[in-house]
């Protein structure tokens, strides 16, 4: 560790759900204020916003400036000149992780002393077909969306292939939503605070064969925020255990699924995980938890495999055998993941960072992983067309 450690100085999050009566800006501003307050009032010099759909669903671009403005952050000094840097980062479902990475790089480099990262998504401003069409813009639109392929159909195709290739039983992916829901029960910010049974999974209505309702994380509104700064800039009375971002990596793959040699191997996941482990000088086996990308249960399985926690075709067994439970070898979705907490689109990566920080700071209550020190977090754009991976580490008690 060094004085240039980038520390998570403050966190904020809103419960994920259907916030019909709250606008995108109100959702975001609320968590921005919570994070700044949690950081003891540090004033950000830069704001990075993770979001996918605001332009399509809320008819709003320039979220960076909007949120800096309405968050009361426009001024970067006492002379009240306009100033703070504020931008939106878009990388599909990996937008939140990508925004976090921008904040990390800015603070690490010294160009920015305090960065505020906010992930926000507002689905409920529009209905059904409009939302589906907007979400499908994250595919290779000219080749995929134009054929009517939605991200859910894409995941279903992968799940069908996975089951065929590796002889996975029809309920083989059940362990992922079962774990997610069991963990979400202990998270007051989760959308579904209720465990589910295997029987409920087996009886659930099909969404896109072979994926059923429990294989597909519910898209929902949410916002989460983080304040990042260098260790020496923390306020003197900073009281939380120190959690640093030990490493950050982002990798891309083909945008269209059809251009992959092996669609069941998430190469961007592998590359970005290997990079963060190498940069931080730690082993995969040292991870105390893994917040993977479970927008679809099949993606959780493929993440575990490409990240090296299971051989190809065996990831589902980790879930089926309890290895990803809170008490398992590699606890995953420890506060519910996207399936249990809810899938807040471009805010997902920021929620993951907030949740990992909660675990590493020992603030996870009944979901606490005892003595958690290292957390791997990863969000994906599409079927790992983008993979953004961070390694978070507790460096003090």
């Amino acid at each position: 560790m060094s004085m240039t450690d980038v520390i998570i100085a403050g966190i904020g999050q809103t419960p994920v759900g259907e916030h019909w009566e709250v606008s995108l800006r109100s959702l975001a501003v609320k968590v921005m204020r919570s994070a700044i307050q949690d950081a003891g009032g540090l004033h950000p010099q830069a704001l990075y916003v993770g979001n996918i759909l605001a332009a399509a669903l809320s008819r709003q671009a320039q979220l960076g400036t909007l949120l800096a403005d309405f968050g009361g952050l426009r001024f970067d000094d006492k002379e009240h000149r306009a100033g703070i840097e504020a931008e939106t980062i878009e990388a599909g479902g990996a937008s939140g992780g990508a925004a976090l990475r921008q904040g990390y790089l800015a603070v690490l480099s010294g160009y920015v002393d305090v960065a505020l990262v906010v992930g926000v998504e507002k689905f409920t401003d529009m209905l059904g077909p409009d939302v589906e069409a907007a979400i499908a813009t994250a595919t290779d639109s000219d080749f995929e969306a134009v054929q009517g392929l939605t991200p859910t159909a894409q995941a279903a195709l992968l799940a069908r292939r996975y089951m065929h290739e590796f002889n996975v039983p029809a309920d083989g992916l059940a362990g992922f939503p079962l774990t997610a829901h069991a963990n979400a029960a202990g998270n007051k910010n989760a959308m579904y605070r209720k465990a589910i049974t295997l029987e409920a999974y087996q009886k659930a209505e099909v969404v896109s064969d072979p994926l059923n309702m429990f294989d597909v994380a519910p898209n929902a509104d949410g916002a989460a925020a983080l304040v990042l700064t260098r260790r020496e800039l923390l306020l003197k009375d900073f009281s939380h255990p120190l959690v640093r971002i030990a490493a950050s990596a982002s990798a891309s793959d083909t945008l269209g699924l059809h251009n992959r040699l092996d669609p069941l191997w998430f190469a961007a996941v592998q590359v970005s995980v290997e990079q963060v482990l190498r940069k931080a000088g730690v082993e995969r086996e040292q991870m105390d938890l893994f917040e993977y990308h479970d927008a679809y249960s099949i993606y959780a399985a493929l993440c575990l495999e490409a990240a090296g926690f299971a051989p190809a075709g065996q990831g589902w067994k980790l879930a089926a055998h309890g290895s990803i439970a809170l008490t398992g070898q590699i606890p995953c979705a420890t506060l519910g993941g996207s399936k249990g907490r809810g899938n807040p689109g471009g805010a997902t990566g920021v929620y993951q960072a907030v949740e990992a920080a909660v675990q590493l700071q020992g603030r996870a209550g009944s979901n606490q992983i005892p003595g958690a020190k290292l957390a791997l977090i990863q969000c994906l754009g599409g079927p790992a067309s983008t993979a953004v991976t961070h390694l978070l580490e507790r460096i003090s008690d």
Binding site: E18, W20, E21, T124, L127, G128, K203, E205
Partner: protein, 360 residues
Amino acid sequence: MTTPLSSSTTLLKPSRPVGIIGYGAYVPRYRLPAKEVARIWSGGKTSGLPIKEKAVPGLDEDVVSMSLEAVRNAMQRAGIDPAEIRAVWIGSESHPYAVKPTSTIVAEAIGATPHVQAADMEFACKAGTEAMVMAMGLVGSGMARYAIAAGLDTAQGKPGDALEYTAAAGGAAFVIGPAEESLATLNASYSFVTDTPDFWRREYQKYPEHGQRFTGEPAYFKHTSEAGKAMLEASGTTAKDYEWAVFHQPNTKFPQRVASLLGFTPEQTAPGLLSPVIGNTYAGAAIIGLTAILDVAKPGDRILMVSFGSGAGSDAFDITVTDKLPERRDKAPSTQEYIARRTEIDYATYARLRGKIAMK
């Protein structure tokens, strides 16, 4: 957002006591099972259907003919001279004419014209209870001795839409008059209304649109529970003070859940919960439930009714049955008799009856 409630400022209470003199229901005979809709549109799924079946109007039935049936039943029970009626108000979102009242036809047919008010109400599914509140006012102020309030619909659901399972036909009518002549007194009403766009149909559109899940929490549950709570609070009552309760019933689950939220038991809502077997009769849904309760209630029984109309609002009513109910009850067919009069149809027949097949 809201100021504290006091019964003197929020409850709608007439200057002189009013009540229901006569009531009547109508349900057309055709039934389309929900599984038949699922067979066509949802791969034949049999679980998770919102109701068992819904009532469908015949080829020659509309809100005029159905209103007339319900109003005649109400008049049978009321046993009054139609010339004494000073208003005929009919709530619906499926009036046959865009311009020309349903209510004039009904008023003329029962012999209430020409010394009469006549108007059609529209407030999605609570147009019927709007008419009831207006009738309470007209009679309660002393401007009239009797007024008729009715709510009926031949609801249309877009083919394949979630609402096609439930959009049904039927409704009820009431003769409102002085409390001393009534079979049930209307002690007070309370209305909770906001601008909440959960369901709508613009001019020249054939089928309504809805806000999907937005129709639940922010619309139905917020308005019905707020109206119910306010009525209980302002009346100084709890669910235990009522023998019966009925809520707007767009499906089976919604009314069950709001009833439970307000502390009512399944036994209290059972007689009025008709949506499982007739569907959502829109402007008729809450009030036809009330007629089924009146069919079984005893003198002294207290009833809570809460309607809901998209757009959105709820009217709550505190009602007490009098000793005149038993002698009038059997003067017209009971609501359950209409429900038992049942001819099952398939989707093709339904498509024909509801004009879903383009003929030109």
